[in-house]
């Protein structure tokens, strides 16, 4: 299986670095009186592939939104590659190597596949405010083609996104997340709504990511989640419920009772 070519992070991404890609300390997010997530403490090492599992309403997507900067946490700290980004806007976190995909595809339906990937590549490169059109020699254009090929959408390069199948849109979401030099990607239910063939393709894409890219994946499909993750965090009612390897989580009686639905009792 070929490994997707992703540029390695450059030193200007962040001068502050540690062995951990993501550190959450006591992160809480309140919506009025409702605590969507409470006192979440979690560490993801650089290059680690982690699954976050839990039933609907467990707070997984809120956790992602806090990490990406869509919401600021009510309390607690979020450190990205050693730097406290708790109050950083979303775009500052993205420029530090964080990427995410969305549960519901948030693509630009009126633009082509190449334009969508171009926007993603331009967002993490220079020339965002350029008033001059892209030249043929612009390296961003080459990168766009590479990313489209990496998610097997070459034949749909000039297709409007609104005309893509659902599965292709999910693949395009991944291409957007791979733009630039990602170091940590948050995948929010990437397999939702995919056919078995498309799921296999997704697993191939995820497992062929370069080793320096870590990711956290929210996924309801246990087959996908446990095959692509090396560690698992279980969430329940906005809190971390269990952590362990996929095997430990799979064999944990409490998890089975709560989530997998075939406990002993």
């Amino acid at each position: 299986m070929s490994v997707i070519a992703i540029p390695s992070p450059t030193t200007n991404l962040s001068s502050v670095s540690s062995g951990n890609a993501l550190e959450l300390r006591g992160v809480t997010k309140l919506f009025g009186a409702l605590a969507a997530i409470s006192d979440i403490t979690m560490t993801v090492r650089s290059g680690e592939r982690r699954a976050v599992l839990g039933s609907n309403g467990a707070g997984k997507t809120t956790l992602f939104n806090c990490v990406t900067g869509d919401f600021f946490p009510t309390s607690g700290t979020i450190r990205l590659f050693g730097e406290d980004v708790s109050r950083f806007p979303a775009y500052e976190r993205i420029r530090r190597g964080l990427r995410r995909t969305y549960q519901i595809s948030l693509l630009f339906g009126g633009l082509t596949v190449s334009d969508n990937v171009y926007l993603a590549c331009r967002g993490v490169s220079r020339g965002r405010f350029s008033l001059f059109r892209t030249r043929a020699s612009d390296p961003v254009r080459t990168r766009v083609e590479e990313l489209i090929a990496a998610v097997n959408l070459t034949e749909a390069t000039d297709t409007l996104v609104s005309e893509l199948s659902y599965g292709q849109q999910r693949q395009l979401e991944i291409a957007l997340a791979l733009a630039g030099a990602p170091r940590l990607i948050l995948f929010d239910e990437p397999a939702a709504g995919l056919s078995p063939t498309e799921r296999r393709e997704l697993i191939n894409i995820l497992t062929s990511l370069p080793g320096h890219i870590g990711y956290v994946i929210i996924e309801h499909d246990m087959d996908v989640a446990l095959r692509v993750a090396e560690s698992v965090t279980m969430m329940h009612n906005g809190r971390v419920f269990k952590e362990g390897t996929p095997e430990e989580i799979e064999n944990d009686p409490e998890v089975q009772a709560l989530y997998l639905g075939h406990g002993d009792e």
Partner: protein, 360 residues
């Protein structure tokens, strides 16, 4: 809309060898020729008053179109930005109010006027981009109203209610630019440059990003874009166009007063942009010519049928209502629908489209 022109994918790819002008349709060439040779057939009134005013209002409406059509921000400050540039020309340059005008050379006061108006528009943008939809309209309208009342009440800088008169363009290259034909070409040239700049930028990274921000700001932030900064930059770009339009406007009228940026004038720019079609740059000029023709000739028409000439605004208002009711995307929307219907009209027996792939 493919923003990135795809590199040649095959050996026989021909697009690369195409010249830029081959992509321009015949209609545009005809329009360009008609506008270039207009002075040969049109009288001074039509050149100066109808077309000159159309190009000026079209530019100011174009600045609104850029913000609304590409950025999703309906700003009512554009006329105030234009008036600010006009005032700065009068203040830093020459006017009949010699006590207040500083008499600087044109190469100082022109860039200064554009710069100050752009800063003004950008600052308003910095406030307005923190709001959405109706609130953007309201905040820009509030600032436009404040600007109007401030210029009317301030005598030490803006000369209050009277404003400035005898503000005329400098005589460059020995040409009196306020004569109908030179002024026609001056406004045509500026309008063309502004139009081409907007079309070009709309497909450059900045314009593409702006359209992404319009469609999905949250996603754009998640792609690494500073959404607020992009919106403010869009105000700056639009302000430059509005400022140039404002300078031409003060030269055409040879005066500037608070009424230039009064509430009615501010709303007129929105009406012009909506009538033409706020989604595309050419819509601003289509709306402008409709507005100018109605404003110029409707009073005579109304008088001829025994009504007061003052009622021409009624015609504009009715036209605006009709456009909003029947074609929210303006005259251009009507045109698009007519073309779509024409393209769909096919064989009545088979129902095949005239433009369908099976057509002979």
């Amino acid at each position: 809309m493919a923003v990135i022109e795809n590199p040649d994918r095959s050996a026989d790819a021909t697009p690369r060898s195409r010249s830029w002008y081959e992509g321009i349709s015949t209609g545009w060439w005809v329009l360009a020729a008609a506008l270039l040779f207009m002075p040969a057939v049109a009288n001074d009134f039509v050149l100066f008053q109808v077309f000159g005013w159309t190009f000026i209002l079209g530019m100011i409406a174009l600045s609104l179109m850029f913000l609304a059509g590409y950025g999703g921000m309906v700003s009512l400050i554009q006329m105030s930005v234009a008036a600010m540039a006009g005032y700065m020309v009068a203040i830093f340059g020459f006017s009949g109010i010699s006590d207040l005008s500083l008499g600087m050379p044109w190469w100082v006061y022109l860039p200064l006027a554009i710069l100050i108006a752009t800063i003004f528009g950008t600052l308003v943008g910095a406030l307005a981009v923190r709001t959405e939809g109706i609130y953007t309209i309201m905040i820009t309208l509030a600032i436009a109203s404040a600007f109007f009342y401030f210029t009317r009440q301030n005598y030490s800088i803006f000369n209050g209610y009277t404003g400035f008169n005898l503000v005329v363009p400098p005589e460059l290259f020995g040409v009196d630019w306020r004569q109908p034909m030179p002024f026609y070409y001056l406004t045509l040239g500026c309008a063309t440059i502004a139009y081409l700049a907007v079309v070009y930028v709309s497909r450059a990274p900045f314009g593409l990003v702006l359209q992404g921000v319009r469609d999905n700001p949250r996603r754009m932030a998640a792609l690494g874009y500073n959404v607020v900064a992009h919106r403010i930059a869009a105000y700056a770009f639009a302000s430059v166009i509005a400022a140039v339009g404002g300078i031409l406007l003060v030269w055409q009228n040879a005066q500037i007063a608070p009424g230039t940026a009064g509430i009615a004038a501010v709303i007129d720019i929105l009406v012009i942009a909506v009538i033409g079609g706020i989604g595309r740059p050419i819509g601003a000029f289509i709306g402008a010519i409709i507005y100018v023709v109605l404003s110029t000739f409707a009073p005579d028409f109304l008088l001829s049928i025994g009504m007061s000439g003052e009622r021409f605004n009624l015609l504009i208002g009715l036209g605006f209502l009709a456009i909003v009711f029947f074609s929210p995307d303006g005259i251009l929307g009507l045109w698009d629908r007519w073309r779509a219907r024409r393209a769909k009209r096919g064989d009545p027996l088979t129902g095949e489209s005239a433009s369908g792939g099976d057509a002979p």
